[in-house]
């Protein structure tokens, strides 16, 4: 069986490396993305994507960070379903691990910390986390809100915000993280995030444009033109992504560490 697995891995690996050999070099100016697609005789067919993004994004969307503009606007449909994938991952973990019925075989009460430095360790870790967690949360909100001006955005900020709750759960116990971030709240937050994203798309559709064509939202958003409406809508969908990712990250940790009982974690 081991030999069979080895052969399968070697074949897959060599196929992947063979596939990569067809890629253009890193930073190649003549690659299709940078120079535009060419037909087999070398005549250009169609415009270069990179060129368009670099020259037109600032003018059309007023977003300096091209990556966010591509992610949330030009390829908004992809990002929406990326968020749905994360949501689905959380639901899968929930469906597999969560124990909804009270069972006789559940774990007993939490084991007492009998190590010699138990109390001192708790004081140091607890104090550190008390100082660190607000800073992490503030920084993660900055990452979300500043995502279209600097590196960052909904995914990164959401993961950091979720990680701050995970840190609380690791440092104290899962129960104290769950008293504020209850199961009902994080499940609602995960759904609300996707609804925000899809809502922006549907609003554009109600205003007689394509799904996720944010430009038209200047009709609803006050004091904006078509360009600023795209910028603001990008912030809106990033906030939606951050909601879902925060909730799902914490949900996955809570279910994994407590074997789906959501009572006590590590």
């Amino acid at each position: 069986m081991k030999w069979f697995a080895l052969i399968a891995v070697v074949i897959t690996g060599s196929l992947l490396i063979y596939g990569v050999s067809d890629f253009p070099d890193w930073g190649d100016a003549q690659s299709p993305a940078n120079a535009g697609a060419k037909s087999s005789t070398g005549e250009p067919i169609g415009e270069s994507v990179s060129q368009f993004y670099i020259t037109e994004t600032g003018r059309l969307t007023h977003v300096p960070n091209l990556v966010t503009a591509v992610l949330a606007d030009y390829r908004g449909y992809d990002t929406m379903f990326e968020t749905v994938v994360i949501f689905a991952a959380g639901m899968a973990i929930f469906a597999i691990l969560r124990v909804l019925r009270e069972d006789k075989h559940t774990l007993g009460p939490p084991a007492k910390d009998t190590t010699a430095d138990g109390d001192h360790g708790r004081i140091i870790v607890g104090t550190t986390c008390k100082i660190l967690i607000p800073v992490i949360q503030l920084f993660s909100l900055y990452v979300v809100a500043h995502g279209h001006y600097s590196p960052g955005g909904g995914f990164q900020g959401g993961v950091m915000l979720g990680a701050s709750f995970i840190l609380l759960a690791v440092a104290k116990d899962l129960g104290s993280a769950l008293t504020w971030f209850t199961e009902k709240r994080f499940m609602t937050l995960a759904c609300v995030g996707i609804l925000i994203y899809a809502g922006f798309g549907l609003m554009a559709q109600f205003l007689q444009r394509h799904f996720l064509d944010y430009g038209v939202l200047h009709v609803i958003l006050p004091k904006t033109d078509e360009v600023m409406a795209r910028s603001h809508s990008m912030l809106g969908v990033e906030i939606g992504v951050a909601f879902t990712v925060t909730a799902i990250m914490f949900a996955i940790y809570a279910n994994l560490s407590s074997r789906g009982e959501l009572k006590r974690g590590l």
Binding site: W26, G153, V159, I252, Y253, L256
Partner: protein, 81 residues
């Protein structure tokens, strides 16, 4: 892009990958996997893909290492092969 820096990171990545597969203690394996994620994050930051590097640092090195450790604590710590 600095070639020597690239090669150093890539060599360390291969070493980290082999260690995380070979080590018997699954907790150490997940820690080494976190190191692997940080190395690839460094590589991306150095190639100029800062957004991807940020995501890798947050998701790959941060949260998924925590998920793996949480799973190791709830299963068994020693790997059988």
């Amino acid at each position: 892009m600095i070639p020597i820096f690239d090669y150093i990171i890539l060599i360390f990545m291969v070493i980290a990958a082999i260690i995380s597969l070979k080590v018997k203690d699954l907790l150490s394996a997940s820690m080494v996997f976190g190191i692997y994620s940080f190395l690839i994050c460094l590589l991306w930051a150095e190639m100029g893909a800062v957004d991807v590097a940020f995501t890798e640092a947050a998701v790959g090195a941060g949260v998924s290492a925590v998920f793996l450790i949480a799973t190791v604590y709830n299963t068994k710590r020693r790997s059988s092969d």
